[in-house]
């Protein structure tokens, strides 16, 4: 920064007060020209809409839809009703389970990829991301074909003789978790890979040379040093899982309802926008808490390493 300021300062000494004012005007113009359009756009198309949703939580639905602008806390007492809190809790549980499974599958995969020869590393990474580049709905649809009672898995299992009658796989909470895991697993592998790849192999060697067994080295060297990557991956998987309504609808068959389904229904079916906004506010609050916890943990970790 100082290197860019130095010549300007020198120039200013030559041109006197009028030039200085012109320079300040120029800087202001530069700031407006670069920041103005983008921030202006985000204010109009993101902050104003969010503020609207936030304000709707205080109002209620009119008899024929629409919004009655009388402030009350009715929406919040209604959310506190066991039914809705139960749905929120189910969503947190399913998203949490998805995140845990993604970590259990993703960590060893990322670890293995990071240890491959450079040539194969790229191929292995691309293969993880590739399914992510096909349409999200089509990826979910593939699971309907797999899990249906006449689907591939049931036919194989009955064909081999493992089971007599087809298992009920589709339209279960398990199917929803499987679909969420399938949709977001690459988002876990990528940050884990970059964290593990950055790890200095000498640290592992040092630990081994000092007599630690591989498991000990993993738990006290590799895992703690890659925890920031773990946290990022968990946020990347948990956040889109929590608000998802497509996968619970297509793979849960309406029997597994998540908070995203409730919000969608309040906005597009019941036309109760104030209540839908209140549910959305709960999702936002949960995510803000999560991001704060992540930032706190990351700060603690980096502080711990320095000490």
């Amino acid at each position: 920064m100082s290197s860019t300021l130095a010549p300007q300062r020198a120039a200013r000494a030559d041109v006197g007060p009028r030039g200085r004012r012109a320079a300040r005007r120029g800087r202001l113009a530069g700031r407006l020209a670069t920041l103005g359009p983008g921030l202006g756009y985000l204010v109009v198309f993101m902050l104003v809409p969010l503020a609207l949703v936030l304000s709707y939580t205080l109002f209620h639905r009119g008899r024929f839809g629409g919004i009655v602008y009388e402030a009350s806390a009715d929406n919040f007492t209604r959310v506190a009703d066991g039914l809705y809190l139960g749905v929120v809790w189910t969503s947190v549980k399913l998203a949490g389970l998805t995140t845990l499974l993604a970590l259990l599958l993703g960590y060893p995969t990322a670890y293995l990829i990071a240890r491959l020869p450079r040539r194969w590393r790229t191929v292995a990474l691309v293969l993880v991301v590739l399914p992510f580049w096909t349409n999200f709905l089509i990826r979910t649809y593939a699971w309907i074909i797999l899990l249906n009672s006449e689907g591939v898995i049931n036919r194989t299992l009955t064909g081999v003789g493992v089971i007599d009658r087809p298992l009920e796989l589709l339209y279960t909470p398990g199917a929803v978790v499987g679909g969420l895991l399938y949709a977001y697993l690459p988002l876990m592998v990528l940050p884990l890979y970059s964290a593990i790849e950055r790890l200095d192999p000498q640290l592992r060697e040092a630990s081994a040379n000092l007599g630690a067994r591989p498991a000990r080295t993993f738990w006290s060297v590799t895992l703690p040093l890659t925890l920031p990557g773990v946290l990022t991956g968990c946020v990347f998987v948990f956040v889109p899982s929590l608000g998802n309504f497509v996968i619970p609808e297509l793979l849960g068959g309406g029997r597994t309802v998540m908070v995203g389904n409730l919000i969608r229904d309040q906005f597009l079916k019941a036309r109760d926008w104030p209540f839908g906004s209140t549910l959305a506010l709960i999702v936002i609050a949960l995510l803000v808490l999560l991001l704060m916890a992540q930032a706190w943990a990351a700060r603690r970790l980096s502080g711990g390493n320095r000490a």
Binding site: T4, R31, T34, P49, T134, Y141, A142, I145, P240
Partner: protein
């Protein structure tokens, strides 16, 4: 010989899990039967049906229109924003606003925009989806261009200014060309995100003009349609080609 590592088990499971559904889709797209649950022999009839499907063709065109418009707008806004955030301010708040659309759950942005469009009595259609997609497009372009900015040497811009070039001239002749790879990468990202985006489009679309993801959603919701298998196979082939091309391209630019 290398010892067998237990890591191969979960890693193998990961790849099996990722590719089993895709293999099934591709195989079933060549199935003569009208249900994916029976194999009646090899046939490409579903591809014919797919190309003849007007809803899918119109959806594809709508998607491309929205993605092209949103990408153009996001690229301009996002690039300027990245330069502004890196060179003209140190505000943490502005940083947070610029990344927020990438972090916010899509359903929150979707209901917000629907509420906003309704409040200002904006008619819904392709333009409303385009403006909505520009929100996250701008954030992603800005993020990608900023990482490029961090690696660009500022001394060229300084030299340009010292030699008497105006700020605008320096920006166009020095800053933009040095950022070009980042701008192109950001634009490609914005484009592919827009093409695939469903939730926000679903909330901000008008009754006519659905995008391709919305068409696919209504097809999938009303049951299993083998046409989808053919569509999935084609989309997969396109992204496969795209990834390989990008890989080759980046290797080419690295060697330059």
């Amino acid at each position: 010989m290398r010892r067998f590592s237990w890591l191969y088990v979960p890693a193998g499971l990961t790849y099996l899990f990722l590719y089993l559904p895709i293999v099934v889709l591709v195989v079933m797209s060549f199935n003569a039967a009208d249900t994916p649950y029976r194999w009646d022999g090899f046939d490409t009839a579903w591809y014919g049906r797919l190309f003849a499907d007007r809803a899918i063709r119109e959806g594809l065109i709508n998607t491309l229109v929205v993605a092209a418009g949103a990408t153009a707008l996001s690229t301009v806004l996002g690039t300027l924003l990245a330069v502004g955030l890196a060179r003209h301010t140190r505000s943490k708040l502005l940083d947070a606003i610029a990344v927020a659309p990438a972090v916010l759950p899509d359903i929150v942005l979707a209901i917000g925009l629907l509420a906003f469009y309704t409040a200002v009595q904006f008619t819904l259609g392709l333009h409303s989806i385009l403006l909505a997609h520009t929100v996250f497009g701008t954030a992603f372009v800005a993020a990608v261009v900023r990482t490029r900015l961090a690696h660009v040497d500022g001394s060229l811009e300084e030299a340009s200014r010292d030699l008497g070039a105006t700020a605008a001239h320096t920006f166009v002749r020095i800053t933009l060309p040095s950022l070009a790879p980042g701008i192109i990468a950001g634009a490609l990202l914005a484009f592919s995100l827009s093409i695939d985006e469903f939730v926000i489009a679903f909330f901000t679309a008008g009754p006519q003009d659905p995008t391709l993801p919305i068409v696919i959603y209504s097809m999938v919701r009303f049951g299993v349609t083998p046409e989808i298998n053919a569509l999935a196979t084609l989309l997969l082939a396109v992204s496969f080609t795209f990834v390989i091309a990008a890989q080759r391209l980046s290797r080419l630019t690295e060697s330059l």
